[in-house]
């Protein structure tokens, strides 16, 4: 997606981690299997549209996780950040614009204000993470474990654990509407993914991100301002959480602390499945999108088959273990071939 035509190389799309052909093959096999198991039910526009409404939430959160993993970090506070941002947006919305009505120009202004406030909140929370990681030198897992607890705690205090709900129709359209048949959440996700892909693979900043993930000390000595790059990584992660929260609250028509908590660890799995090296330095957006599609197809297919959603989660975990063992087999075979 982000590669020019001349240098387009399938294997290049993924970088180090897993192989994009394996993922593409797995996706095709899974879709084929569901098409056979669910004749006339799986391969329908409605199924795909439902998937296109469900994928973006996890997708945006996975992007937020993946950008930090590229630097060898992790962001455990993504869900807390998204919920905090959702709560800020929801609080302003419900206080200024009456719920579930068409709104005029003044209402539109308030909606814009509410969303901006939410996104600014997520940016500031990202800034906090970035400061602790980049300038105080705390390991990302600990820093974001702390901010996760703190942000979640503040969100609970602000809402007393209650749900804030009842948004104007214009807001609900973000999560539930479509543009020429394309679900709005999908449009937001793909646009964002494209932008993140461009930032990572077409800008000097993006190159620094990968370099930091490969070898932070070497990057520092090569003259890159590592701290400022890292700071921006966590700010980007924050903004992505903010976007995820806008999609989330408009789909649920409510905001609350603790929403989507089970997604936290799944975003790590999705990133790794998509070829992001947990040690940092490798991984690209198209691989991540493919991985998310696999998870979504499994989830939707099993749901149509009437299988418990918990079994789906188990299968997601199984797929990661399967793919990593495949990668291991392949790399060890390659090694033995080279030495022979």
């Amino acid at each position: 997606m982000t590669d020019g035509g001349a240098r387009f190389d399938l294997r290049n799309l993924l970088g180090g981690g897993s192989d994009i052909r394996t993922l593409a093959m797995l996706l095709v096999v899974l879709m084929g299997a569901f098409a056979v198991l669910l004749p006339g039910e799986f391969l329908r526009a409605a199924t795909f549209q439902a998937m296109a409404f469900q994928l973006p939430e996890l997708g945006l959160l996975a992007l937020a996780m993946a950008v930090t993993m590229l630097t060898g970090g992790i962001n455990l506070s993504i869900i807390a950040t998204a919920n905090m941002c959702g709560i800020v947006t929801a609080a302003i919305l419900t206080r200024t614009v009456p719920g579930d009505v068409a709104v005029g120009a003044a209402g539109a202004g308030y909606i814009l204000l509410a969303m901006t406030a939410g996104l600014v909140t997520s940016l500031l929370l990202g800034l906090l993470n970035g400061f602790i990681v980049a300038y105080l030198g705390v390991s990302p897992i600990l820093a974001t474990l702390g901010t996760m607890t703190l942000i979640d705690g503040i969100a609970v205090v602000l809402t007393k654990g209650r749900v804030i709900s009842g948004f104007p129709r214009a807001v609900l359209a973000i999560g539930n509407g479509d543009v020429l048949g394309f679900p709005v959440p999908m449009v937001i996700f793909l646009t964002t993914a494209l932008a993140v892909g461009v930032l990572l693979n077409r800008t000097p900043w993006g190159v620094s991100v990968y370099m930091i993930g490969s070898n932070q000390t070497a990057t520092e000595f090569s003259g890159v301002r590592v701290r400022s790059v890292l700071m921006r990584v966590y700010m980007l992660s924050g903004i992505l959480c903010g976007l995820a929260s806008l999609v989330m609250i408009s789909r649920f028509n409510s905001a609350k602390s603790g929403y989507a908590a089970s997604y936290l660890l799944v975003t790590v799995l999705a990133s790794v499945l998509g070829g992001v090296d947990p040690g940092g330095g490798f991984g690209r957006v198209p691989g991540l999108i493919l991985a998310l599609s696999i998870l979504q197809v499994v989830s939707s297919g099993l749901n149509l088959l009437g299988v418990s959603s918990h079994l789906t989660v188990a299968l997601w975990g199984g797929i990661i273990i399967f793919i990593t063992s495949l990668n291991l087999l392949r790399s060890s075979r390659r090694l033995s071939k080279r030495s022979a």
Partner: protein, 333 residues
């Protein structure tokens, strides 16, 4: 003194002890109940389950690994144990044996996968968390379990006493087990060859390999130990709350990690002590208990815990960085 303290090997423990002592004095003056024996036993009982698992987490962290799946292991162990003792009868020892065996088995799955797939432990254990838990809930349909045999309701206690107003308090099995787990983990880490090897493995894996350590065996030991303690903790938790619910343990994995890290264990392996972990868990327990006794709304508890974690890890990292900086200057001069 401060200069010496900064370079002292047990600096973190000393620092934590100061904070806990200050907090105790404050809570003792601010509330009447804090220093009562009843309160102490209550806190010990309610944190016995978290404390037992934190000892396992410490061992995993020292070896340079991490385990996120232990909450799922505990839940699986809890369901297996409950279903067997309810349907076939048994006794408390059997309950611990079953849960421990399930824990060791699932822990060995983690150990093998981490060793052979050569993928970071955090990724593998997040995956196995989802696999173990997803399968369990799919099989059990997430049903709650209440109908324990009568012997399970009688929590054995070492000794008990009756207060002036007639309430009875006792040093119960969970507290005894908590102490036993702490003591044996400390012994394992400080006094056994395996314990010392774990520090070496976490400190420098390459060096440990060249020393000829059997890495697979060490890894298996670490994750099985974590599994065993998760199993033991799960029986303790079932014994305390007398119900088994699918969502009572899963989701608390990061809470345990935070307590152990507060206690000075490094996320990159090779450092951490059991006394430190005890202090870390105590600090978290005291904060919750103190805030409750002072009548602070429970909504605020998490804010305090979060703030303490953020400040503590920041101060630690900052002082290490400052220490390194000074060191570098000294070498250049």
């Amino acid at each position: 003194m401060w200069r010496r303290l900064r370079t002292h090997p047990q600096r973190n423990e000393i620092f934590l002890s100061f904070i806990i002592a200050a907090l105790s004095v404050y809570l003792g003056l601010a509330t009447r109940e804090f220093f009562s024996l009843e309160n102490l036993l209550d806190v010990l009982l309610s944190y016995s389950f978290l404390g037992i698992m934190s000892a396992g987490m410490l061992v995993v962290l020292i070896s340079g690994g991490i385990d996120i799946s232990f909450t799922a292991i505990a839940t699986v162990a809890q369901y297996t144990m409950s279903l067997i003792i309810i349907n076939y009868g048994g006794n408390l020892l059997l309950a611990f044996l079953i849960a421990g065996a399930v824990g060791i088995f699932l822990g060995s799955v983690n150990g093998f996968l981490i060793h052979y797939l050569k993928v970071p432990a955090i990724i593998i254990t997040i995956a196995t968390l989802n696999v173990f838990y997803g399968l369990l809930i799919a099989v059990t349909k997430g049903r709650w379990i209440y109908a324990f045999p009568t012997w399970f309701y009688r929590v054995p206690s070492l000794f008990s006493f009756t207060t002036a107003d007639g309430t009875e308090y006792a040093v119960t099995l969970p507290i005894v087990l908590l102490v036993a787990v702490f003591v044996s983990t400390a012994f394992l880490l400080r006094r056994t060859a395996v314990g010392r090897m774990l520090y070496a493995l976490g400190g420098n894996q390459e060096a440990a390999v060249r020393m000829g350590y059997n890495i697979l065996r060490l890894r298996l030991f670490v994750y099985c130990f974590m599994g065993l303690l998760a199993g033991v903790a799960s029986v303790v938790q079932a014994e305390i709350v007398q119900t088994v619910a699918p969502n009572s343990i899963v989701g608390r994995e990061l809470e345990v990690l935070a307590a152990v890290v507060l206690g000075g264990a490094s996320i990159t392996g090779g450092t951490g002590t059991l006394p430190g972990t005890v202090l870390g868990v105590s600090l978290v327990a005291m904060m919750h208990n103190g805030l409750t006794l002072m009548g602070v709304s429970s909504y605020w508890h998490q804010v305090f815990v979060g703030a303490v974690i953020v400040i503590s890890v920041s101060v630690t990292a900052w002082s290490q960085r400052a220490g390194r900086g000074r060191h570098r200057v000294e070498i250049e001069v």
